[in-house]
Symmetry: C2
Subunit: 328 residues, 2 copies
Amino acid sequence: MIDELRALKSIKECFKNDSGSVALGIGDDSAAVSFSPGNLVLATTDSQVEGTHFFSKTLTPRVLGRKSVAVAVSDIAAMGGLPRYILVSAGFSGDLDENYLDQLINGFKDAESEFDVKVIGGNLTSSHNTFIDITVLGEVSKANIIKRTGASSEELIFVTGTLGDSFLGLKLLQENLQTDYGHKYLIDRHIYPKPRLSVGKSLGEARLATSMIDVSDGFLLDLSRISQEYGLGAEIILDNLPLSDEYLNYYSKFSEDLYELALSGGEDYELLFTSPSENLEKIMLLADETGIRITRLGSITSNPEIVLFDKKGMKKEITKQGYIHFTK
Amino acid sequence: MIDELRALKSIKECFKNDSGSVALGIGDDSAAVSFSPGNLVLATTDSQVEGTHFFSKTLTPRVLGRKSVAVAVSDIAAMGGLPRYILVSAGFSGDLDENYLDQLINGFKDAESEFDVKVIGGNLTSSHNTFIDITVLGEVSKANIIKRTGASSEELIFVTGTLGDSFLGLKLLQENLQTDYGHKYLIDRHIYPKPRLSVGKSLGEARLATSMIDVSDGFLLDLSRISQEYGLGAEIILDNLPLSDEYLNYYSKFSEDLYELALSGGEDYELLFTSPSENLEKIMLLADETGIRITRLGSITSNPEIVLFDKKGMKKEITKQGYIHFTK
């Protein structure tokens, strides 16, 4: 049983930091913080809801706490920005014990050091099902911000890391398959996503991306959000899709199609961006410097369709674009 | 049935405002906004959870939308600040229809004009029970911020408006009593709270308050948060408690004690603040100017106890302090 006043007290002690840019942290009616003068303030919010995004059975509270912050700061990475402050709003059923809350707090502490952010406020309430809502405040200089809009026809399309691992990991988790190293790798990609903060920031500073988004709802759906949403299309060479060895080993358990899960599985939290072809070399250099794989997938087109080409140069039909709430 | 993509599109169209201080509103990975140079950025988050804070049966979505913003901007008022931007994170069960969402959006539009704020972002997810999480970003000059800490012994204690109405309104709502004007007044105080933005801002600008909090969890509990929390106490003259005529007419339906519901009922969203006695006249003048009643209730003491005195100057026992989640 969680005691709200005791919980708030322990949270306050845990995240106390009224210093530097935090004029007022947890414990007042609102937090008060400062940002670098002249920068734009970035603000985004993301939820993890029990039964929709996670199940307490398969995700420990510590991993959940870290992940809920990781996926939210990924949105700041997708702007070329730097996350700074976190607000946590959480609802729990009264049945949860103090230990659950302590472990969740440890997850937020993990996130604080990993992403160099500070928890400055939050809200705790009782709720039938558990939810965690994270608001991230970040910043970016006006000149370096990378929006979803900005791509032009003939620009190249890039993505960081590999695609589809997270969705495969989720499937393995749901089927309780964690028996070998490959399973563990894919499950980790799902429960322990790595937002591409350094790549995002570097792309912004070097002004190498004309548009960017993080792949959260599935590659094709998120691709449409930087192309079709603005009257553009894309041509994707399927053979270029970056797939991990573990993906190649296990995809066939869940799909007959090599590419389906990479194209439509969600929660990759990789960065998908566009850039004129003259930047290709600089982008590959950036991949070397950051140690994060960056793959060229195809090009933006003026024809507002997304077209996939297979190995033989034949068009391939799209069946499922990505994860959409309420309509599954 | 809510279609997430359609819903997002309609929300985007409804709140589109990439202009002025909003460099980037709804529709990208994160919003990008600016604040007045040199000001502190205020950030607070508050939830309304079905079954905990409201029941769909008794609160229309439009009123819920407005209220969820009202109670969150109240936290900015309590800092002496000005609310600027809103992020909405909401979870709905798939059963809800489009009309519910449209009406909720209308409630947010109501809040935008009433509190002079802009909805700049949000998140929509499916959830077993409905919740709405509001993050407010506001600002205040460093010199004018009013914290919970700052009161000193012998300073006077003030509160705006009247106390206990909201809790009485909730009780009437729960018992489905809405038969006369008095009922309606009290229910309105519950479902249609008025954050004291102008008083809060004026107190900050005139530096008239040494500490401040909004009364959300019950007067006594919130009083302890600006007194006992910092090793101080308070003496309250019960006869001074500001009670509405409607409160006086109906309290006895739910309590044998005239003061109990005013002392411990939550969700008043009035401002509770402290000030040295030499400011008394200025504060009363501010009440006249803003048209908001401000009442002097007693004094801060160095003895870290909250003591209540009745009409005869006798100490009165405290039984229930306020609403605490999980422990009721």
